[in-house]
Structure formats: structure tokens, C-alpha cells
Amino acid sequence: MFQIIKKEILAPSIKLFNVSAPEIAAKAQPGQFIILRIDEKGERIPLTIADFDREKGLLTLIFQEVGRSTKELGELNEGDSILDLVGPLGMPSDIEKFGRVICVGGGVGVAPVYPITRAMKQAGNEVISIIGARNGESLILEQEMQKVSDQLYVVTDDGSAGMKGFVTTKLQEILAEEKKPDLIVAIGPLVMMQAVSELTRPYGIKTVVSLNSIMVDGTGMCGACRVPVGSKTQFACVDGPEFDGHQVDWAVAAMRARMFTDEEKIAMDRYHHHAGGECQCQKKK
């Protein structure tokens, strides 16, 4: 069992947990992820590691409540425990001194971008960050990102915080400047990562993205997370989750993300049925 030491609500549907997992915290690297299972009937939920504290043995997990399982996860409180937690999984980010690095985070994708940004800064890079959200209320980790970036830009769809527009709006402006970055790291919704990759492609700037594919075991055993990258089919869980955004087949990635749309709806309906008190059953702990 893995105890939740601290819970914070970062935005209306985005929550942060500090979870006690000393062995995983000791080994976690930026870019890696964990898989957790809330309880006996739970599914295996992959979440990118947002931070780790090796001394205290804590992992920081930040997640958006998008479906039934993440909603149930969000209902857990400090002191509660998660049944299973496994990791660190996937390959770590390639951190070295590239020169000028732009880190782009969209929505809850700012969470995995944060430890990468910090590591890039520590490795001696000039780090420019762009973080975006639908609105100011949904924006997360602004202060944290500020601390580890030489320059931070905030953009929101509605302009309620920072500049109005998308992360690509700001990125376009920066790319139009003279000094080209040596590397771009972009994590967020698939459409955002695709848009960033398309934007940087003509400039020939290496663009790293992190795929949050559907997966079961997370150790290369099931192949649910497969995606064509260049001429090869890759497994996001063991070959990734980070890939060259210019090589990813975005159409296939988006299509495969829709595999269980119907079932996700069934699960949510059932959740509302229970949570709304329409049925007489005991709400499960």
C-alpha cells in the first residue's frame, strides 16, 4: 500500500498527491512514469511522475480527472492509501547541455514538463518555458516553472491569465526571433504536441514529445501503447514515453486514444449513477 501524504487541488479538475513510495522515488528520473491501481477492482492507470523527493521518499503525482478512474482517484484524501504503485517505468528524458531549450507544457502536461525543465536548467541550458491552459483557473505550476526557467511565458485560450492564445502562438513568436533553440520539449494534449511538432518541423528543430498512450502492464508485454514512429512501431511504455515529435504518426496516436471511448462513457454513467445517489447501494469506500 502506498500512502497519500499530501493532497492539493491545483485547479478545478487537477489534483496533486504526494505519495510515499521510497523505492520508486530513489530511482525516478524526469520523463518516467508510474502505473497505479486504486483498489482491487481498479484499472492500471499510467501517470507521469511530476516530481520526486529521494530523501523523504515521496513521489509527486498530478492528474486531471478525465474519466471514472481518475475521478475515483481524486476522491482519495490525505492518509488514504493506493493499493498498487509500480515504477519508475519508461525511459528517462535525455538531459544534457543542449544550449537553448524551450519547454512547452499544456494543461496537466505542465506537470511532467516541470522536472524536465528543472533538469535542463541544472544541466546548464538556457531554458525558456511556455505553459498554457484553457483559462487562468486551470493553469498549474506557474511559480514552480518560474523558478526553473530563465524566462516563462503564460498563455491561456481565453486570455484570463498571461497572453491570449495557444502555446503555439507564443512559440511561433519566439521562433520568429533570430536565435533558434537547440531543442524543444512539448508535453500536453495530443493535438497540442502535434501542433508544436508541425510548427517546428520546417525549422528543423528537434522536438521531443511524451505520449500518454493507453496501456495495461507498462512493461512491454501487451502492446496496447504501440505507435508508429518513423518506420518502426514503438511501444510508448518501454521505448518511450518520449519520442521525436517529427517522427510520430499523429493520426494513429489520436485514433488509438479513442479505442475505449464507448466503455469510458459506460463507466462514467455508472459513476454518476452511484455518486448521484440514484441507486440505493452503499457508495464504495
Binding site: E23, E43, M221
Partner: protein, 465 residues
């Protein structure tokens, strides 16, 4: 005397009715009754020079345990089996006895062989109901062994070494131990409660089982050796799914058999939405391949509500690698065999879901290196089959997580760990390996046989120091 014995017919295994069982996940084979077990045991000649043992990868003293059944001394029967085999309830269910012990049975020369596997299962199930696993306290040696993977080879190594007094920790990547016995083989063929019971009895020997532990990630083999452990056994199995590399393989509705079976067996997808892991099946299902995993997938698909389910295989029935019994059960349940045919493309609809399978017909040519007649494609024979789901059951390769993170561990071209067949010794001192990670995908009992040999070698290694 012996002539009379042959007169008793081989006792048939009582089965759940085919129509009923194709709708549920309960065990198909119900097990011998006491009367059947005694009748079947009476057929054994308890030969002085038994041939059957030669067919057993773990050398169970078959005539001795059957003699105990004849004498209705069931506790002694199971104890006798357990001297050599720590997973009898599992082996009695999933071993291909027809290619092993029963193949060598003398009775089988003139009549049908003694049903050794069914008797083994009877003894093991008897113990679950009536007996209790006794643990013999042994003098601790003070040596520690890490076993990576909790499938058949790992559990065997763990049990054997624990009985010799070594302190064993089994590390399992998934959240439940058992490996392929849990994620791969379905409930209707091997109930998970039975696997759990066998694992519990191994824990009673003093073995610690650590789940959610991915060796290669949370720690490396070197870290294990430099830390607490005196030796490491790697039994990580064949977990890497193969695909065909044909167009359309990424459409939604194409699963690896590993994904399909894991969703169903480990995650209990058949109970969705009570259990949270979804599994989607549709009405028409094609399973590509004809091994035991393919049969398990096809029979699972029917139980999940598929209206039509096909085994699509490029050779003929004679070459199908699955156990005959499994093929028979699948066909009885309604699985249809599409033989001498193989997919060349998967067609999807505009939303990205599987719509059809384009197959090409084959004929049999000269025998290939496997000794089976090779399939030869017939040009221009392509045809289309409407399909909602396609399951790739083409075999599995070795998972590279350990070899990638253990630089001085030699592997072969296919990525299997190179290990001595007699001892499991790898290229790295103190590191042993066995089961599918060494041989490529094989059977539960072969992995257990490798585990036996490795346990013996590890014991010698630990006590020689």
C-alpha cells in the same frame, strides 16, 4: 493380472456442457470423482522400470504416487508428487501429458495410456479440500536469493531453494504473482484460486513475494548482487508480443493475445464495468495463430459474447501447435477453424475500427526446418472476411528489460538469455536463468524443469562459497 487391468477403460474427464460453458468462465474440466480416480489408478501397472518418468521434465515418481492412490492413501500420493513438483494442481491441468509422461506409458502401446495428468490433478485437488501443506522447518543457510519473475520457473526455483534453507525473495512486475499462470491462462482452464493456493503454499515454505517490482527499473541485477543477494535467478518469461507487420495492424480492435488475455484474466475485463478495465470484442473475431494461446483467446472471445470466432492459421490441422484437447474443446464450444489461410491486410472504417480482414490461401509444401510441411501462399487467392476484432496470437519473444540493464549478461540473436541447459548458469557469475526467457515460448512444465535444474545449481553455487 495385467490383462485385467487393461480391460478398465481410460476414464473420461467430466466436462461442463459445451453450450453452457461457452457462456461462462468457470472451469471446463471438472476433475475425477473418487470412483473414477480409483478406477483410473487401477489401470497403472506400477512398472518396475517405468518409462513414464522419462517423459516428465521434473521426474515425478509417477508409479509411486499412483500406487498410493490405488491404496487410497491420498496424502501420501500428493506428498510423493510434491517431492518433485511444487505446482501439481497447475501441472495436472495444463501440462501436455500426451507428449510427456503419458506418451511413454506401457499401457498406451495397446490401449490408451494411464491418465497420469488427471490423477495428478485429483491428488492435488484432494489436498486442497482435505489435506494441509506441511512445512518442514529447515536450518537457515543465511544465503539470500532473488528470483525475478513469479511464473512457473521462478516459483519452482523459489520453492526448491526455500526447502534447502535459503532465504528467497520473488520479485514480480505485475500486481499479482503467478506470471503467465495469472495473466495468460484463462480462468476456465486454470482457476486463479488454484494458482493463489499454490503460491500460498510456496509462501508457507518461507518465500517472500514482492509484487509491483520491475527489476531493470526499480533495481538492476547488479544492484541485487551488490546488495542483499548472493545469487539471482531470472525467469522473466516470454512477454513481448509479436505482430505480423501487415497494413492496418494499428486499427482499434487489433489486440496482441497478451493484451487481450491480460485485460480479461489479470484485470477481469469480463466483469467490466464492475471491474474498471474495459475489453471490447464485437460480434466477429479472428484469432491469428493456432497455439494454446490462440485457443485460449478464441474461447475467451466466445465467452465475452462474440457470435462468430475463427482460428486463422496458415497450415493445416495436423500442424496446429495447440494441445489436441484444447483444439477439441474450442471446436466443441463453437470456435471455427479457418485453415491454410493467413491475413495480408486489416481494413478499418473511417473511425479507425477494424472492419475486415483480407486473407490469402495457402497450400502445404515440403517440410521446413521444424519438420512440419511448410505453408506456401497461393497467388491471387485473396479474399475478405468481415471482422470486428483481430487477435494476434503469433507467439511471444523475450522481454528485454533485464538484458538491457545488465550489460555483461549474454543473449542470443533473438534476445533470449544464454544459459547452460543443465544448470541455468548465465555468462554472469551468480546469475542463473530458466524458462521461456532462455528457451523462447514453451510450456509451464518445461519452465518448471529448468527451474528445478537451476535451483540445484544455485544451491551448489551457494554452498561451495
Amino acid at each position: 493380472m495385467s490383462k485385467e487391468k487393461i480391460k478398465v477403460d481410460r476414464q473420461e474427464m467430466p466436462l461442463q456442457d459445451a453450450a453452457a460453458r461457452s457462456k461462462n468462465f468457470n472451469e471446463v474440466s471438472l476433475g475425477y470423482t473418487l470412483e473414477q480416480a480409483l478406477l483410473e489408478a487401477s489401470r497403472c501397472l506400477t512398472c518396475k522400470k517405468p518409462q513414464c518418468i522419462e517423459g516428465c521434465p521434473v521426474d515425478v515418481e509417477i508409479p509411486s504416487f499412483i500406487k498410493f492412490i490405488q491404496e487410497e492413501n491420498f496424502q501420501s500420493a500428493i506428498n510423493k508428487i510434491k517431492e518433485k513438483n511444487n505446482l501439481p494442481a497447475i501441472c495436472g491441468r495444463v501440462c501436455p501429458q500426451e507428449n510427456q509422461c503419458e506418451k511413454y506409458c506401457i499401457i498406451g502401446k495397446k490401449s490408451k495410456p494411464v491418465a497420469i495428468g488427471r490423477l495428478e490433478r485429483f491428488a492435488a485437488d484432494w489436498e486442497m479440500k482435505h489435506g494441509d501443506t506441511k512445512s518442514n522447518p529447515v536450518e537457515p543457510t543465511g544465503k539470500k536469493v532473488a528470483v525475478v519473475g513469479s511464473g512457473p520457473s521462478g516459483l519452482t526455483v523459489a520453492a526448491d531453494l526455500a526447502m534447502l534453507g535459503h532465504e528467497v525473495t520473488v520479485m514480480e512486475a505485475l500486481h499479482i504473482p503467478g506470471g503467465v499462470l495469472v495473466y495468460g491462462i484463462p480462468e476456465f482452464r486454470l482457476p486463479k484460486a488454484i494458482v493463489q493456493r499454490e503460491i500460498d503454499s510456496i509462501k508457507k515454505l518461507g518465500v517472500t513475494v514482492k509484487t509491483n517490482a520491475v527489476v531493470g527499473k526499480i533495481n538492476t541485477v547488479d544492484e541485487l548482487l551488490n546488495g542483499d543477494y548472493d545469487a539471482v535467478f531470472i525467469g522473466t518469461g516470454a512477454g513481448l508480443p509479436y505482430f505480423m507487420d501487415i497494413p492496418g495492424e494499428n486499427y482499434n480492435g487489433v489486440y496482441s493475445a497478451n493484451e487481450f488475455l491480460t485485460r480479461n484474466n489479470l484485470m477481469k475485463g469480463y466483469l467490466f464495468p464492475e471491474y474498471m478495465t474495459p475489453i471490447k470484442i464485437g460480434e466477429k473475431v479472428a484469432v491469428i495463430g493456432a497455439g494454446n494461446v490462440a485457443m485460449d483467446s478464441a474461447r475467451t472471445a466466445l465467452r465475452l459474447g462474440a457470435k462468430e470466432c475463427y482460428i486463422v492459421y496458415r497450415r493445416s490441422e495436423n500442424e496446429m501447435p495447440a494441445r489436441k484437447e484444447e483444439i477439441e474443446h474450442a471446436v466443441e464450444e463453437g470456435v471455427q477453424l479457418q485453415l491454410l489461410t493467413s491475413p495480408v491486410e486489416i481494413i478499418g472504417d473511417e473511425s479507425g475500427r477494424v472492419k475486415a480482414l483480407i486473407c490469402q490461401r495457402f497450400e502445404l509444401g515440403e517440410p521446413d526446418e521444424s519438420g512440419r510441411r511448410s505453408p506456401v501462399a497461393i497467388p491471387g487467392s485473396e479474399y475478405e472476411m468481415e471482422m470486428d476484432t483481430v487477435i494476434m496470437a503469433l507467439g511471444q519473444g523475450p522481454n528485454p528489460l533485464i538484458s538491457q540493464t545488465t550489460p555483461d549478461l549474454q543473449t542470443n540473436k533473438r534476445g533470449n538469455i544464454a544459459a547452460d541447459e543443465a544448470t541455468g548458469q548465465t555468462s554472469k557469475p551468480g546469475v542463473f536463468a530458466g524458462g521461456d526467457i532462455v528457451t523462447g515460448a514453451a510450456t509451464v512444465i518445461k519452465a518448471m524443469g529448468a527451474g528445478k535444474k537451476a535451483a540445484k545449481a544455485i544451491h551448489e553455487y551457494l554452498t561451495a562459497n
